[in-house]
């Protein structure tokens, strides 16, 4: 726990008062540092992901000597507590009191949605890690870029892989009963069924369900696999309980359940699980090796996907600042730079963005293996240039309603 968590620069309290960012002429302000607001969760049940997010950001700016391009950086970290109303207040604080030039975060989709209109009205560029589909789709927010993935983006290739490469026919899906779970499952279901697979059972569990025993005992026999879209401690609990009930079914999953940060704790229970993700700590990119070493060195843990997300955000931000010539005060130009940025060598490989601000980049199929006494997510297949609509066409995709419990419709359920 020996982390230098206090990244907030306390002196800023004195400087920020009463001046509003957009009133300051760009030329004058450019002399000062770039102010970045970082929304994360440090308390409450969601803190696990939030603390990892902080690891990524902390490591990045430590490596860069607190600079982006040639401008100094002032990082302001805010704890949303995983609560939408508090996320909004903290965003207001960052924008109104501390006059940040851009935001990174927040963790959860419902937090991102709670500040959506505020971001629009204050025109604050934000690099988000939340998965909520429509932020970059039907209700696209022009001030958002998402370098990681939508909730379903990595489920699409996994569905494709399960149907074509693994030749799976019958799969049950299991997910947290909230938007992320619904969207994550829906993406898998769509590509899987479009390629001949059948989702024969769909179960959604309340977020606060203490025990999955009931649900697990309801799983159909003769499944080729069970797909899980549980996040955080729920994914952990689900996989442990599945094996506890002696269920040896192949596990498939979205990008949350067998995260590197939890993998060692899960032990053999997770072995063999195949998941779709835009990242793995095993990726051979030079930048990633440095990142993994850095996290292991500074925090004595393996980097999870949340740490990778914010580190990735910083990489994208850095390039965009360079592209914009350091002029983050000109919001429109800076936002344009963010959306048109191409970063060839991030920890997840090359990334660019579509016109809606969502990432186009590699998507990986990974398998949990044991290497040298350690559990790892080995990459077994790479889908290149996967965007949020892959493999569908944007306009056709957007004609459909947003992914939910009921869309795409489930035609193959067995009851």
């Amino acid at each position: 726990m020996a982390i230098n968590r206090r990244t907030v620069i306390k002196g800023a309290l004195a400087t920020g008062v009463a001046s509003q960012a957009f009133k300051i002429p760009a030329a004058v302000a450019q002399a000062g540092p770039i102010r970045i607001g970082f929304l994360t969760v440090k308390t409450g049940p969601l803190a696990s992901g939030g603390l990892q997010m902080e690891q990524g950001v902390t490591l990045f700016f430590k490596e860069r000597g607190n600079k982006l391009g040639n401008r100094a950086v002032e990082l302001h970290t805010a704890d949303t507590g995983g609560n939408p109303a508090q996320a909004r207040t903290k965003t207001q604080e960052l924008v109104e009191r501390l006059n940040v030039h851009c935001l990174i975060g927040p963790l959860a989709a419902f937090e991102a949605l709670a500040i959506d209109d505020y971001i629009r009205s204050t025109q604050t560029p934000i690099l988000t890690v939340a998965g909520a589909e429509d932020i970059t789709q039907r209700k696209a927010n022009p001030w958002v870029v998402r370098p990681s993935a939508t909730s379903a983006q990595t489920s699409h290739p996994l569905g494709d892989y399960a149907a074509k490469d693994l030749k799976f026919k019958r799969v049950a899906t299991f997910g947290d009963d909230f938007a992320f779970g619904h969207e994550c499952v829906a993406g898998f279901q769509r590509t899987f069924e479009d390629n001949g697979g059948k989702v024969v059972q769909k179960l959604f569990t309340p977020l606060n369900a203490p025990d999955y025993g009931t649900y697990i005992s309801q799983l159909k026999p003769n499944l080729d696999a069970v797909f899980t879209a549980h996040a955080g401690s729920n994914g952990f609990k689900f996989i442990k309980q599945l094996r506890e009930y002696g269920n040896k079914t192949q596990i498939l999953g979205g990008f949350t359940p067998v995260d590197e940060s939890l993998l060692q704790q899960m032990g053999d229970d997770a072995l063999g699980a195949i998941t779709g993700n835009w990242y793995s700590a095993q990726l051979e990119f030079l930048g990633n090796k440095k990142f993994v070493e850095g996290i292991q060195r500074d925090f004595k843990v393996d980097p999870g996907v949340y740490a990778a997300e914010t580190y990735l955000c910083c990489e994208v931000l850095e390039q965009a600042v360079k592209d914009a010539g350091g002029k983050v005060e000109d919001k429109a130009a800076f936002m344009k730079a963010l959306k048109t940025v191409k970063v060839p060598n991030t920890i997840r490989g090359p990334v660019s963005f579509d016109e809606l601000g969502n990432v186009v980049g590699n998507s990986y199929i990974r398998k949990v293996e044991k290497k040298g006494g350690k559990y790892v997510n080995t990459v077994i297949k790479t889908y290149a240039d996967v965007g949020q609509f892959w493999p569908y066409k944007q306009d056709e995709f957007l004609k459909n309603p947003v992914y939910s419990r009921d869309f795409p419709p489930s035609k193959n359920l067995e009851n």
């Binding site: 207040t89 903290k90 109104e96």
Partner: protein
């Protein structure tokens, strides 16, 4: 009202009106608006808690009832005023129904029914995602424009909230000194005796439950107008507990207590938390320490402390004064 009270009131009113000009920064003005909103929540729950002795753990349910009703009506084409009135009416009627269920059981039973009802509202908000957007929540398109006044700037919204809360506070203040209020407090202390004196204790409690629900719903509308967003997180048990804790922390037996409690909890959550990483521990510690030293909350506790200090300063005078009155 004594002359001193009038002077105090004038000073406090002047201070409150001056808040936006004195503070200046939008963020803190918004913070003040939030304190006002939560103060109204705490004041409304305190009608039950302080005067009626009814501990409710489901008050955030009104956020769900009034809040979602208001947003849904607005989205479906109602103008802001009708939406607000209908939402308040709906929520108050539901309060009537909830009151009938909750008042079946006394004490812990009452707490548990209100908790369960709050959780059921939460569950519906969560599960009925076609209607409520589920976990993703719903957005209110815009703040209302009462009498054509645009409320989008922080100071204007602050004054709007201040006006609403002032009206509510005035009502609740009158309520606390009214014959009905006296009957309610009587029913809190000696329910059996009260009914033997001809008071319909059940009806007194139920009406209070409904009134508290009404003002809770008004606070809910302010919450929604302020945030322009509502999701199930805002109406969970956590939120209900927070509202209850505000009233207890400040002192349920006083009118100012809930306001003080609301200010402390809101500020620790939203402002202190930027400087103190373990703000949850701090909040918990405040609860424990306050109750150990001031078992009935901050405002009554401070009043008592003040009285003692004053007594020590001029022992002879106060002794004489306390003999006949006390």
């Amino acid at each position: 009202m004594t002359r001193w009270n009038a002077i105090w009131l004038a000073i406090v009113a002047a201070l409150l009106i001056a808040v936006p000009t004195v503070i200046g920064n939008e963020f803190y003005v918004n913070m003040a608006s939030q304190v006002l909103i939560y103060a109204l929540f705490a004041l409304s729950i305190n009608m039950m808690l302080g005067y009626g002795g009814m501990v409710s753990l489901g008050h955030a349910g009104y956020l769900g009832l009034a809040g979602y009703a208001c947003i849904l009506l607005t989205i479906n084409g109602f103008d802001q005023l009708s939406a607000a009135i209908l939402a308040l009416a709906f929520s108050t009627v539901m309060a009537g129904f909830f009151g009938m269920l909750s008042l079946r059981a006394p004490g812990l039973g009452f707490i548990m029914i209100t908790l369960a009802l709050g959780q059921i509202v939460w569950g519906i908000a969560y599960r009925a995602n076609d209607l409520t957007g589920g976990d993703n929540g719903l957005r209110l398109p815009a703040r209302p424009m009462p009498f054509g006044i645009d409320l989008n700037s922080a100071p204007r919204f602050y004054y709007f909230a201040l006006a609403v809360v002032a009206v509510a506070l005035f009502f609740i203040w009158r309520f606390s000194r009214s014959p009905f209020g006296a009957s309610l407090m009587g029913a809190r202390d000696q329910p059996r005796r009260m009914s033997m004196l001809g008071h319909n204790v059940w009806l007194i409690r139920w009406l209070t439950f409904v009134l508290a629900g009404f003002w809770g719903s008004v606070a809910s509308l302010l919450f929604v107008y302020y945030n322009l967003f509502l999701s199930p997180h805002a109406l969970g048990l956590q939120q209900s507990a927070e509202i209850l804790l505000m009233a207890i922390l400040g002192g349920a037996s006083s009118l100012a207590g809930p306001i003080v409690g609301a200010a402390i909890i809101t500020l620790v959550k939203n402002v202190i938390s930027s400087y103190v990483e373990r703000w949850n521990t701090l909040l918990g510690a405040i609860f424990v320490i306050v109750i150990i030293f001031m078992p009935y909350g901050l405002v009554p506790g401070c009043r008592e402390l003040w009285r003692r200090i004053a007594q020590r300063r001029k022992p002879s005078a106060s002794k004489a004064a306390s003999e006949p009155a006390a």
